[in-house]
Amino acid sequence: MKQFTFWISCLSIILASTACEDNNNTNEEQNAELYRGILEQYVNTTIIPTYRSLATAALEMRAANEKLKNTPTNENMQAASDAWMNARVWWELSEAFLFGPVGENALDIDGHIDSWPLELEDIQSELASGTGLTGQEAWQKDAEVIGFHVTEYLLYRDGQSRPVADLSTAELNYLTAATDALVWDCVLAYVAWVGEENVTDEMKIVFRENPDVVAHLDNNSYYKNFARKLTTADGYSSWADALSEIAVGAAEIAGEVGTTKIEAPYVAGNVMEVESWYSWHSIDDYRNNIKSIKNAYLGGVNDNTRQTVTLSSLVRQIDADLDSRVKAKIEECLEKIAAIGTGGKSFYEVVRDQVNSEQVGAAVDACNELQQLFDALPEIL
């Protein structure tokens, strides 16, 4: 990462070269303005909209599950499954910036809502009890019996939405309680990043539904309005270190997708290591992780909301070709991960049947190359 700092420093020289009469402080102030601008775009156009969309999607999931519970039809089951999938997409789109409030030594939102494997015996035992579990009780439970993968387990089997007739009343109750817990965690991530004072009244009401959630944020007050901390480099040794969060986060998830999420389960032939095990949604998960990198690098949350003051624009000023290569590698990763599913296969099936090895290898290579680009930008410069 020092290379990244060097590279930032190079830009500083370029920026400083026209103002030689200035002292160090002036240069630092100029850099601070530039870095602050990039960080503000990163936070305001990528991170916060992603968490806002995640919170909204979780609320839609809650509404769909309530409807399913009240009127258990296959149509409502499909709608609930689709709502889960939509929330899942926004979560995967957040994985290039799993730091700040969501970290395990902060509010532990990542650990609380995306835990895998599940403690199935405990889940079965809870179901056998008929489950009068409330959302508040669910939120206090261990992560292995709540979160995305438990709600996925209740809604999906073998890549398909379950027939509604298969769901017991206890399962529907568990689903709504676990979804409440998920909603609060998603809203908590959003509120922590942006500050409670800056969310809508509707979101504030949801955040305050569970006093335990409110107390959790109060007990970790450093993470209140983390957007302000990051955009002022509060706590960081330098502006360059704060800005480095973007590249480090991108590098980390690129490496994780390639080595941990794709290569490791395939090489071991272990389907239990495949993410989104019940919905067989892994390939989309991995692509959404890469899209998360794309959003962090180019700003916005999709191709219609790209920004002008971004990490990408900074790279482009120094080395336009490098910027092009980073962007091209992102697209290559998206294509090669999609190709893993050649023949209409889910990643679960690819791992189970040990097929498409060439495509798997190509995707892993592309992800590792993307990681190296983010890691080693200064040396390439």
Partner: protein, 496 residues
């Protein structure tokens, strides 16, 4: 987790170069002190992920990197009891479900919390139950495991019910009325742990004759570099302290690792844990913890971390017998078996150890800042280095990871135990000097700066102010410093 390329060893001097009319970029060599973990064990990363980076020697080796990533996965996953799942094998009785549960940010430490709740990811405390009436404060191992287990997979019951563990933070006023010489006030707090008798599973265990205390986990990064310091150098440090006659540290007792450490069998002085009860990394706190914290068996640990007393009580428990449909004899045989099937493969364990050894030390920061340099002078003049020994050079032949041989490292510890005479220190009264490297990044990695063995200090000044006993003269010098000097000293600590 980033695959890292070779560190460029230059620092760009921005304005001086740009304004000199000469070359646009002037380069200077980093001094060795920036490489806190030596050239091969340091990464330059000061972000929220600073404590979880692989060393470059790991990143640049495809096999080691693959193992590192696998090991990281093993360390961060919560183990489960369900045998149909991966990462199964939790229990029957356990302390935590994962490494990350007590090591947030991997190398980070836990947070000072008000409640002993092991499901709280910020709570990294281990609970110790001991006999306070004896000089060496022995653990109550007749009933409890050394690190007390407070969780169990049903139908087994935890030896201690966490709901009956009470953690209080009490104010402490020192002999100066909690004031610096310049009149500035400070506040100190310390923990008191009590356990209700009703929370104890054993009917024959008298809690009123025992005491409990908490110990927070220690940072993980760079531990292989500490492992790579030779026994001879460690013994020489101890001998030098004996020779000088003040601040004489206690060296860890020799531990026979024959059959336990494939690289270094034989006897070695303890250097890991607060009480220096572990001598080498391959039979060290992490190597053991991945087994005894979770009770996940593996080929070289084919038995449970369990006491006879617990096994007998559980085996005789009608609830357990009924739920399992087994006799007491069968349950007892299972709990005390020495040949259980491994729940973790040897390959996963070795990958875990590659990860454990391979986490890099973050490089120092701001060492060229005049305030930091002033702080370094004060650190030296105050006498801190008597125990916080700045640097060591690792052995010439470190077999587990040869690239970590011959590294000059800056951990700021003598790896010996000292008595700081803290108020109610709990069991870790004579405590190993904490390595200071990288701790300045706690704020950015964790959002808090809780320190010392029980996290009673909330920042650097409080940590210094808790230094009594052998280190009291240093504390007094700090207390008498001007605000400017105190801040400079802290800036230095934050930089290293």
């Amino acid at each position: 987790m980033g695959r890292r390329t070779t560190i460029t060893r230059v620092l760009l001097l921005l304005t001086a170069a740009a304004c000199s009319g000469g070359d646009a970029v002037k380069e200077k060599q980093y001094s060795e002190e920036w490489y806190a973990g030596g050239v091969n064990g340091t990464v330059f990363n000061a972000t929220s992920r600073a404590y979880r980076q692989p060393m470059n020697i790991i990143s640049e080796d495809p096999l080691l990197y693959q193992q590192f990533m696998r090991g990281e996965r093993v360390a961060e996953k919560s183990f489960v009891a369900d045998n149909s799942m991966s990462y199964s094998g939790l229990g029957p009785v356990y302390i935590r479900k994962s490494c990350i549960a007590c090591h947030p940010s991997y190398g980070g430490r836990g947070k000072r919390v008000d409640k002993f709740d092991t499901s709280d990811s910020r709570n990294s405390y281990l609970l110790m139950i001991y006999d306070p009436s004896l000089p060496d404060l022995p653990l109550a191992t007749s009933h409890f495991t050394g690190m007390t287990q407070t969780s169990a997979v049903p139908p087994f019951k935890p030896p201690v019910d966490e709901a009956g563990v009470h953690l209080q933070w009490l104010p402490y006023v020192d002999e100066h009325g909690n004031k610096y010489e310049d009149g500035t006030a400070y506040e100190l707090v310390y923990p008191r742990v009590t356990i209700d008798q009703s929370a104890i599973l054993f009917p024959d265990f008298d809690m009123s004759r025992h005491a409990a205390s908490i110990e927070a986990t220690i940072g993980l990064y760079g531990v292989a570099l500490l492992d790579a310091i030779s026994d001879e150098d460690l013994r020489a440090q101890h001998a030098a302290e004996v020779e000088r006659g003040y601040c004489v540290g206690v060296i860890g007792a020799d531990i026979d690792e024959t059959g336990l450490n494939p690289y270094y069998p034989g006897k070695h002085p303890g250097r890991f844990t607060y009480l220096c009860t572990r001598a080498t990394l391959d039979n060290g706190p992490g190597s053991n913890a991945i087994w005894n914290i979770t009770n996940v068996t593996r080929p070289d640990r084919a038995y449970h971390y369990i006491t006879d007393a617990y096994a007998r009580l559980s085996a005789a428990d009608p609830d357990v017998q009924q739920a399992l449909g087994q006799t007491g004899e069968e349950i007892l045989a299972y709990l005390l078996a020495r040949d259980l099937p491994p729940e973790m493969t040897a390959a996963d364990y070795e990958a875990f150890m590659v990860w454990h050894r391979g986490i890099a030390v973050p490089a120092a920061r701001d060492l060229d800042n005049p305030v930091v340099q002033r702080g370094r002078t004060l650190f030296n003049e105050t006498g801190c280095t008597a125990c916080h020994r700045p640097s060591w050079t690792t052995r010439t032949d470190y077999a587990p990871l040869p690239a970590l041989s011959n590294q000059k490292i800056f951990p700021y510890t003598d790896l010996l135990r000292h008595d700081l005479e803290m108020h109610e220190p709990g069991r870790a009264r004579v405590c190993r000097t904490t390595p200071l490297w990288g701790r300045g990044l706690m704020k950015v990695t964790s959002g808090y700066t809780d320190m010392l063995h029980d996290l009673r200090a909330r920042d650097y000044p409080e940590a210094i102010l808790w230094h009594g006993g052998e280190a009291k003269p240093c504390k007094e010098k700090f207390r008498k410093m001007s605000r400017e000097d105190r801040e400079a000293l802290v800036k230095f600590l934050e930089a290293i």
